[in-house]
C-alpha cells in the first residue's frame, strides 16, 4: 500500500469576478515509502497547490486522497491536523521560520503538537537535529540573525524533528545561490535517506529535479512522467 494515493484530484479556486480557476484537473499520483519524487512545472501551474494537498493542508475540490489507505476527506479536522503533524515535514521556499524564536525553539515547534514524551525532550531533540544539519554553533541564535542557507538548514531540522515519513519540500533552494542550494539539497537527500522518509521536492531547477528517482511535470493541471533531459 502506498503512503500517499491520489486519484482524479482536482482543485479550483473561486474568483471574485468571472469563472473559477481550474488549477488541477485530474492528478493521479502514488508516493511509496522511501520514494524520491520531484515535480517541476511552470510558475502558476499548480505545484504548490498540489503540495498543499499532499501535505493535508488543503483539500481537493474533487477526487480521492488516501494516506496509508485512509481517505483523508472522511477525517475530521483535528484528526487531519494530528496526522499531518505526525506524518509530514514541510520545507518551504521562504524558510518560514518564526521570527523572534531562536533556531532551537523553531526546530522544537512541531514537538509542541506531538506526544508528551517528545515535548519534554524537545530541547535535546532540537539540539541534536541542529547538530545533524551542521548548526550546533547556532542553537540559541535568533532566526532573523541567520543567513539564508542557515535558515533553510534550520527549516530542514524542523521538518525532520518529529521523524516524519513524508518530507514535502516546496522549492527548497529557490531563495539560495546555486552553491548553497546544492549543499542544502545534499543535506536534504541525506537526512531523508537516513530517516527512511519519502521525499517530494517541487522545483524549477532541473539539476535539483534530476536528483530524484522519479521526475514528474505538471502540464495543464495534470501530471506526466518526464525525463531529466526533457525538463
Amino acid at each position: 500500500m502506498p503512503l500517499l494515493h491520489l486519484r482524479g484530484v482536482t482543485r479550483q479556486f473561486a474568483t471574485i469576478d468571472g469563472p473559477a480557476l481550474q488549477i488541477l484537473k485530474g492528478v493521479d499520483l502514488d508516493v511509496a515509502a522511501h520514494d524520491r519524487v520531484s515535480i517541476v512545472g511552470r510558475s502558476g501551474s499548480g505545484k504548490s497547490t498540489l503540495l498543499n494537498i499532499l501535505g493535508l493542508i488543503d483539500q481537493p475540490t474533487t477526487g480521492i486522497v488516501e494516506l496509508d489507505g485512509e481517505p483523508v476527506a472522511l477525517m475530521g479536522g483535528r484528526m487531519r491536523d494530528r496526522l499531518r503533524g505526525a506524518t509530514v515535514g514541510f520545507v518551504f521556499q521562504q524558510f518560514n521560520l518564526i521570527e523572534g524564536l531562536t533556531a532551537a525553539e523553531n526546530v522544537a515547534v512541531p514537538l509542541h503538537y506531538g506526544a508528551g514524551r517528545r515535548y519534554w525532550q524537545r530541547h535535546r531533540l532540537a539540539s541534536e537535529m541542529l547538530e545533524r544539519v551542521g548548526l550546533s554553533h547556532r542553537i540559541d541564535t535568533k532566526a532573523t540573525n541567520l543567513s539564508g542557507g542557515e535558515q533553510q538548514r534550520v527549516a530542514i531540522a524542523r521538518a525532520l524533528v518529529r521523524s516524519p515519513r513524508l518530507i514535502l519540500a516546496d522549492e527548497p533552494t529557490g531563495a539560495l545561490d546555486i552553491e548553497t542550494g546544492g549543499r542544502i539539497m545534499d543535506l536534504l537527500d541525506e537526512v531523508a535517506a537516513d530517516a527512511g522518509a519519502a521525499l517530494v521536492t517541487i522545483t524549477h531547477d532541473v539539476a535539483v529535479a534530476a536528483r530524484a528517482s522519479r521526475m514528474l511535470r505538471i502540464v495543464d493541471g495534470r501530471l506526466e512522467q518526464t525525463s531529466a533531459v526533457a525538463a
Binding site: 491536523d81 518560514n96 523572534g100 518529529r162
Partner: protein
C-alpha cells in the same frame, strides 16, 4: 497534561517576544486589578469589623438564649415587682445544671439590674450586667486594663466588678488608685476596666450573676432586676437540637415557670441578610469600570498584532497544531499576561496594606482593634478576575487567528 503545559509555555514565549508592546496594555490591567483587590479587601475588612460589632450586640453564631418568667407575675417581670432573689437563684441553678449536663463549652447566665453607686459628685445610678467569664469571649468584650471576670471570682468575699471608663471617670480618681467601688449597698473590688470609645462614656459595670443578685439593693423594686436568662454559644449544626434540649431541660427543672429558648444571634435573622452587600457592590462596580478600560486596551493591541502573526499560525498549523490549539494558545497569551499583571497588582496592594501609614489610616476606622492580615479572599478574587478578563479579551484575537487559512498564510 502535556498539552496544557506546552500551551502555557507557548504563551509565555510569545509574551517574552512581544514584551514591549504587551507591557503598556498590561499596566492598565495591573492598576485595575490593584484597585479591584483593594476595594474587595476594604469591603472584607469592613465586613469583619462589622461582624464583630454585630456579634458583640447579639452574640456569635449560633447563640441560643433561654429566658424564664414566672406565670404568677403575669409574664411581665416589671409588673408585679421583680422576681424575688430566691426565685432568680433557683433559675440560675436550673440553667447552670443544664450547661453542665450538656457540656456546653461557652455559656453565660445573664441578668441586668439598675443599682446605685457612690461617685465623686454623689450617688448615681448604673446599669450592671450580671455575666459569667465566658461572656467576654461570646460578645467580643475586650478589657483595656486588668481582666474580665474569672472562675476564681466566685470564691471572693467582696464581689469582683468590671467597670467601664464612664464609671471610672465618675469615681473621680485616677485609674491607678481606684480599687473599689461602693455599689448597690456593698463594696465591690474593681478587677478590670473596659473602654470601647463612645460606647463607654456612660457608667456601666459587669459582675457575676450571683454577686449581682446578692447585692443588698438588688432585692429592692428600684433595682428593676430582669430575671436571669441563659446565653449558650453552640456550633451552628447543633443549634436546633440544642434549642429543644435546653428548653426541655430547664423547663423541667422550673415547675410553674414559663421557659422559652430562641436563637438570637444576628445571623439567624435571615439567610439573605447581608448589610454590607450594597457597599461592596458599589466598590466592585467602580473597579470593574477601570478594568474594562484596561481590557479594551489589551484587545486593541492584541487584534492589531495578531494580523502580523497570521504567517506564524499558518506555520504552526502546517506542523500539526489544530485550530483549537491555536485558539487556546492565543487566548492563553492574554490570560498569562493578565494573570501576571494582576499578581503584580495584588502584590502592590498587599505591600501598600503593610505600610505603617496605611495601617494607621485603616485602624482609625476600627474601634481600637488590631488589623487582621490581608484578606486572602480579596487576593484570590483579584486573580480570578484577572484570568477571566484575560480569557475574554484573548478570545477576540484568538477567533481572528483561527479564521485565517493555512494555505493563505504560508503562500508567499
Amino acid at each position: 497534561m502535556t498539552d496544557v503545559v506546552a500551551a502555557i509555555q507557548d504563551a509565555w514565549t510569545e509574551l517574552r517576544i512581544h514584551r514591549g508592546r504587551v507591557l503598556m496594555s498590561l499596566i492598565g490591567v495591573t492598576v485595575a486589578i490593584a484597585a479591584l483587590t483593594a476595594s474587595v479587601a476594604i469591603g472584607e475588612l469592613a465586613r469583619s469589623t462589622l461582624l464583630v460589632s454585630f456579634e458583640s450586640q447579639s452574640g456569635r453564631a449560633a447563640t441560643l438564649t433561654t429566658s424564664a418568667w414566672n406565670e404568677q407575675a403575669g409574664g411581665d417581670p416589671f409588673a408585679a415587682g421583680a422576681p424575688s432573689g430566691a426565685d432568680s437563684l433557683a433559675v440560675l441553678d436550673a440553667m447552670e445544671a443544664a450547661v453542665d449536663r450538656y457540656d456546653i463549652e461557652f455559656a453565660s447566665a445573664t441578668t441586668q439590674g439598675q443599682v446605685m453607686f457612690q461617685g465623686a459628685s454623689g450617688t448615681q445610678g448604673v446599669q450592671v450586667t450580671g455575666a459569667e467569664p465566658d461572656f467576654a469571649i461570646m460578645r467580643h468584650l475586650g478589657v483595656a486594663d486588668g481582666r474580665f471576670l474569672v472562675e476564681s471570682d466566685r470564691a471572693r468575699l467582696a464581689p469582683a466588678v468590671v467597670v467601664n471608663r464612664g464609671l471610672l471617670d465618675a469615681l473621680g480618681q485616677g485609674p491607678a488608685s481606684a480599687r473599689t467601688v461602693e455599689l448597690g449597698g456593698s463594696t465591690a473590688v474593681i478587677v478590670g476596666v473596659i473602654d470601647r470609645g463612645m460606647q463607654d462614656e456612660w457608667p456601666q459595670a459587669w459582675m457575676l450573676p450571683r454577686d449581682l443578685l446578692r447585692l443588698p439593693e438588688a432585692n429592692s423594686p428600684m433595682a428593676y432586676m430582669n430575671p436571669p436568662s441563659l446565653e449558650a454559644w453552640v456550633p451552628e449544626e447543633l443549634a436546633d437540637d440544642g434549642k429543644r434540649m435546653l428548653n426541655q431541660d430547664i423547663a423541667g427543672a422550673l415547675p410553674g415557670w414559663q421557659v422559652n429558648t430562641e436563637r438570637t444571634d444576628w445571623q439567624a435573622w435571615g439567610d439573605d441578610y447581608d448589610p454590607l452587600l450594597p457597599l461592596q457592590l458599589t466598590l466592585i462596580g467602580a473597579a470593574s469600570a477601570i478594568l474594562l478600560l484596561g481590557a479594551l486596551g489589551l484587545v486593541t493591541v492584541a487584534v492589531v498584532s495578531i494580523r502580523q502573526r497570521v504567517r506564524e499560525f499558518g506555520i504552526r498549523r502546517a506542523f500539526g497544531a489544530s485550530r483549537g490549539r491555536i485558539f487556546v494558545a492565543v487566548m492563553l497569551e492574554s490570560v498569562v499576561g493578565t494573570v501576571v499583571a494582576g499578581a503584580i497588582g495584588i502584590a502592590i496592594c498587599i505591600f501598600a496594606y503593610r505600610l505603617p501609614a496605611v495601617q494607621e489610616m485603616l485602624t482609625q476606622g476600627l474601634s481600637g482593634g488590631e488589623l487582621p492580615g490581608f484578606p486572602m479572599g480579596a487576593a484570590i478574587t483579584g486573580l480570578l478576575v484577572a484570568a477571566a478578563v484575560g480569557a475574554i479579551a484573548g478570545s477576540i484575537p484568538a477567533t481572528i487567528a483561527v479564521r485565517s487559512k493555512v494555505i493563505e498564510a504560508i503562500r508567499f
